[in-house]
């Protein structure tokens, strides 16, 4: 089926890109392995949908598609939460920067007053 060819091609490009970035050092190797397993897993599901049904049976979920949707939702939650954590870290870094600037400005202002 055409859709299978398109999706597998997309996953192959994503896999290649992941390892290109890993070799450049922009993606940590641990993350690259995680992403790779995601791309390869997705490709396997596209080429052999019955694997999902097998997996669903193991989990106790009726249909393979359902199992994939449940797992996707969980994965999305985890990713969004990670994003929130990154944002929080960034917010704290900004506060730290603003603090440094405000204290430096004050020190500078005081030095000028003394002159």
């Amino acid at each position: 089926m055409l859709i299978q060819v398109i999706l597998v091609a997309i996953f192959a490009v994503a896999l290649a890109l992941t390892w290109k970035r890993a070799s450049q050092g922009t993606v940590p190797r641990r993350d690259a392995f995680l992403w790779s397993s995601l791309w390869i897993g997705a490709a396997v599901l596209v080429l052999r949908p019955e694997v999902a049904t097998l997996f669903a049976g193991m989990l106790g979920v009726g249909r393979g598609v359902d199992a994939v949707i449940y797992l996707s939702v969980i994965a999305l939650f985890a990713l969004v939460f990670r994003l929130f954590l990154r944002l929080e870290k960034m917010e704290r870094d900004i506060s730290s920067l603003v603090r440094t600037v405000s204290i430096a400005q004050r020190t500078e202002g005081r030095a000028q007053e003394k002159k």
Partner: protein, 226 residues
């Protein structure tokens, strides 16, 4: 002992000047951290005699308090007092807050609205919310149940305690974080009764019931930060 009052200020024109003037006779220095105000309140604080340090961006009450605390300790404060800019806190409470430290009985003193002195104009919903917050603080954060006010903004600490507590929550969750860090340390913590005056104006600008969820969320995110 040098007592420095630290006041975070965000658009408190018309109130901050009076707060600074009320505090000045009671402390060695008043440090106002202007958190990116756009209403000229920084100038009002300066004119009233405060030492003003300016955040170029609004970073939240917790972040402003931390800047003021870091600065106060760096500039020789022995005791740092956290105080609100909106006039809700009673300046008469300064000796109540600092005496346990000056007498060497405590390292950190928290002002509590629930120790016998009745706050003026506290809505019933706020009282209920704070009771729930107290349960949350006990179960989730491990703050002792003996702590009567989980969201008190009025507190005093020694310079050494201020350095040890080292809070990082930028927004409203700093109250819980400071309490937790203080009680988790070896520092001697006590609560003293203080009075808070709520007015329609301060209630409109202050924390809302929905902020409780934000605080819980901020604490959750904070728990995962290194």
């Amino acid at each position: 002992m040098k007592i420095f009052a630290v006041i975070p200020n965000y658009n408190e024109r018309g109130r901050i000047g009076a707060v600074v003037r009320d505090l000045l006779p009671r402390v060695h220095r008043v440090v106002v951290v202007d958190d990116g105000s756009s209403d000229g309140s920084a100038e009002e604080a300066r004119a009233a005699g405060a030492d003003v340090v300016v955040h170029v961006l609004n970073r939240g009450q917790g972040a402003a308090l931390k800047t003021g605390t870091v600065l106060a300790v760096a500039e020789g404060a022995d005791v740092v007092v956290h105080f609100d800019a909106d006039g809700q806190h009673d300046p008469e409470a300064i000796p109540t807050l600092t005496t346990p430290i000056l007498e060497g009985r405590a390292d950190v003193v928290f002002g509590s609205r629930f120790l016998g002195v009745t706050s003026v104009g506290m809505p019933f919903s706020r009282r209920l919310l704070l009771a729930a917050a107290r349960q949350f603080s006990g179960v989730v954060l491990g703050i002792p149940r003996t702590v009567t006010d989980p969201q008190s903004g009025m507190r005093a600490m020694t310079a050494a305690a201020a350095e040890e507590i080292d809070f990082a929550q930028d927004r409203m969750a700093h109250c819980s974080e400071i309490l937790r860090n203080a009680y988790a340390s070896e520092l001697r913590c006590v609560e003293v009764p203080v009075q808070v005056r709520y007015t329609a104006e301060t209630l409109a600008k202050g924390q809302k019931a929905s902020d409780a969820f934000k605080i819980v969320w901020q604490l959750l995110l904070g728990a995962f930060q290194r």
